[in-house]
């Protein structure tokens, strides 16, 4: 890893304050987010956890400006968000690298020509400078996410949104990525919003863990463990267990009652495998 002064020079940007006021989002009849209120201090690392389909990804997409809210506002540094912002970068669950561009050109995507040298420096920070001229298809899943992290950081974002970026990685690579994200966050001080279904990941990284349940914020827990955090720590484990218990407290909503199997309802008494020959 390169020294800290160089790191902060590349990524420095500071963080932005984020305020959500009365934020709601409906998809047709279905209300995904209900009147959500949230204040995030500049430079804070906030993790949003919840069961799948609870609306946490929608919240992130609203903050990114990829969706428009049905009601309420997103305010970033005292300015109401209206569409995409150049100070916000998002890291997706799938790395979304362009397969037809070499790693270095993926990192430099959308960067003005005179700043292309930055791309290599950031790639060096994520430890992949030697793969700069490879095709993304040649990288492992973890390496792809590191490239995607570099691509986000090269723009010196003041707000970094992470949409379950480590969901598809193996346990060891995840721990490595936690370290990397934490280091880069500490050095450049952006505000981070991490959506995850992994409570351990949330506790390992975040200053604050927020639980979303049925479109509402159900829990807002401050994590004041010293960094770097060790997962074997008793306080860590206790906190993780408490949040996990809270997540599991509410049984999963029964999806089958609202969305019955269409095949069965249309063809009563005929099992699905009995229909296959006719299709």
């Amino acid at each position: 890893m390169t020294d800290i002064s160089e790191l902060s020079e590349v990524c420095a940007g500071g963080g932005e304050a984020l305020v959500l006021q009365g934020l709601s989002k409906c998809f047709g009849e279905r209300e995904v987010l209900r009147n959500t209120e949230l204040r995030v201090a500049p430079g804070q690392f906030v993790a949003i956890v919840g069961r799948s389909g609870c609306g946490k990804s929608t919240l992130l997409r609203l903050v990114a400006g990829l969706e428009t809210a049905t009601a309420g506002t997103v305010t970033v540094n005292d300015q109401t968000l209206n569409g995409l912002s150049s100070d916000t970068r998002i890291m997706f669950q799938d790395a979304r690298l362009l397969p037809w561009k070499r790693v270095i050109d993926n990192v430099a995507l959308g960067l003005p020509k005179d700043r292309h040298a930055d791309a290599l420096r950031v790639l060096e920070q994520v430890g992949l400078a030697d793969r700069a001229n490879d095709w993304p298809a040649r990288l492992s899943g973890g390496q792809r996410q590191r490239v995607s992290l570099a691509r986000a950081l090269v723009h010196k974002p003041r707000l970094l949104l992470l949409d379950e970026p480590l969901g598809a990685l193996d346990a060891l690579t995840r721990i490595e990525m936690h370290r990397l994200i934490e280091d880069l966050w500490l050095q450049s001080g952006f505000t981070a919003l991490l959506v995850t279904h992994d409570v351990q990941e949330a506790v390992a990284l975040a200053d604050r863990v927020i639980l979303i349940e049925d479109g509402r914020i159900a829990l807002d827990e401050t994590i004041d463990l010293a960094r770097p955090r060790s997962q074997g720590d008793a306080a860590f484990a206790a906190l993780e267990k408490r949040i996990l218990d809270r997540v599991l407290q509410k049984p999963a909503r029964e999806t089958t009652s609202t969305n019955p199997n269409p095949t069965e309802s249309r063809w009563p008494g005929v099992p699905a495998h009995g229909l296959r020959w006719a299709i």
């Binding site: 990829l66 150049s86 916000t88 979304r96 397969p99 561009k101 959308g110 095709w135 298809a137 723009h155």
Partner: protein
């Protein structure tokens, strides 16, 4: 006969071979290795040659049949005659002129038809409005075989160059149009969304994400078009032409010069193969990022 043979089989010479082995021992390992290598190399060459065995045998048979007189030159000239005909045509420069004319026809038709197909495909692929307006019309027109238009084309353009160009352009248009359209529709929306969040403008989205994403599909369209291009060219040139490979063969037919007819046929095959190799080369270069196209 049987007695000496049995004698041969039943006469072992262990003493002799042992002695030979012992004498050879110092050099045996390396000699054996060299021999094995030679055998492997020979096997390799044999493997490479094997697929050519049948065609070579057929041509040899054909040559023999012609020389002996089983095969009339009116039906099929001897391979050697074809080669001689090709050589005289090349030497006189006549062949080259005809190939040039034919290639020019084919390529200009491809440029016009393929270019339009690409443009319209890009348009309908990108804009829903353009798709609603144009796509169903184009799909209807697509069902008309290009060759069915020949009478109409002759009425419109006469039997001139324009008619040939038009026929080729119409037939190469659709494969490129359809594949461009589907290629663009098949680009991962996640990548386009990513591009937007990374501040790419519309033009950059097009050049960095949409076009490269659709390229493999567009190239499939191009390969289809190249195949069709030659077929239509052959038909168009046999209708009427003052120059070109088609003219060469039709003219030769009038004078029963089967060797020249055959040269023409082989030329078409060669040009078709050349176009395919070219398209494959483009694929290999433009899609070199794609694991499916990387050199082994």
């Amino acid at each position: 006969m049987t007695t000496p043979l049995r004698e041969l089989q039943t006469t072992p010479t262990p003493v002799f071979t042992d002695a030979a082995n012992a004498a050879l021992l110092p050099g045996t390992a390396s000699t054996l290795q060299a021999l094995q290598q030679l055998a492997r190399f020979g096997g390799h060459v044999w493997q490479r040659l094997l697929p050519w065995l049948v065609p070579v045998a057929l041509i040899a048979l054909w040559q023999i049949a012609s020389s002996v007189g089983w095969l009339s030159t009116r039906v099929l000239p001897a391979p050697l005659e074809v080669i001689t005909a090709a050589w005289t045509l090349t030497a006189s420069g006549e062949l080259w002129t005809h190939v040039k004319v034919s290639a020019w026809r084919a390529l200009s038709g491809l440029a016009v038809g393929g270019g339009l197909g690409l443009l319209l495909g890009l348009l309908t692929g990108t804009s829903r409005m353009a798709e609603t307006l144009l796509d169903s019309t184009l799909q209807m027109v697509r069902n008309i075989p290009a060759l069915a238009l020949i009478p109409l084309v002759i009425l419109w353009f006469g039997i001139d160059e324009t008619a040939k160009l038009f026929l080729i352009a119409v037939s190469v248009f659709f494969p490129i149009y359809l594949n461009t359209f589907h290629g663009i529709r098949g680009v991962d929306p996640g990548l386009i969304e990513m591009g937007r969040t990374y501040g790419l403008n519309r033009w950059q989205l097009y050049t960095h994400i949409i076009l490269p994403g659709a390229l493999s599909s567009i190239l499939v369209g191009l390969r289809f078009s190249l195949g069709l291009m030659w077929v239509i060219l052959i038909v168009a040139e046999t209708i009427s032409a003052q120059a070109g490979i088609g003219y060469l063969t039709m003219n030769a037919r009038e004078f029963l010069q089967t060797d020249i007819v055959l040269v023409g046929i082989l030329l078409y095959a060669l040009l078709g193969k050349l176009a395919d190799v070219f398209a494959k080369g483009l694929e290999r270069y433009w899609l070199r990022w794609h694991p499916g196209y990387q050199a082994q």
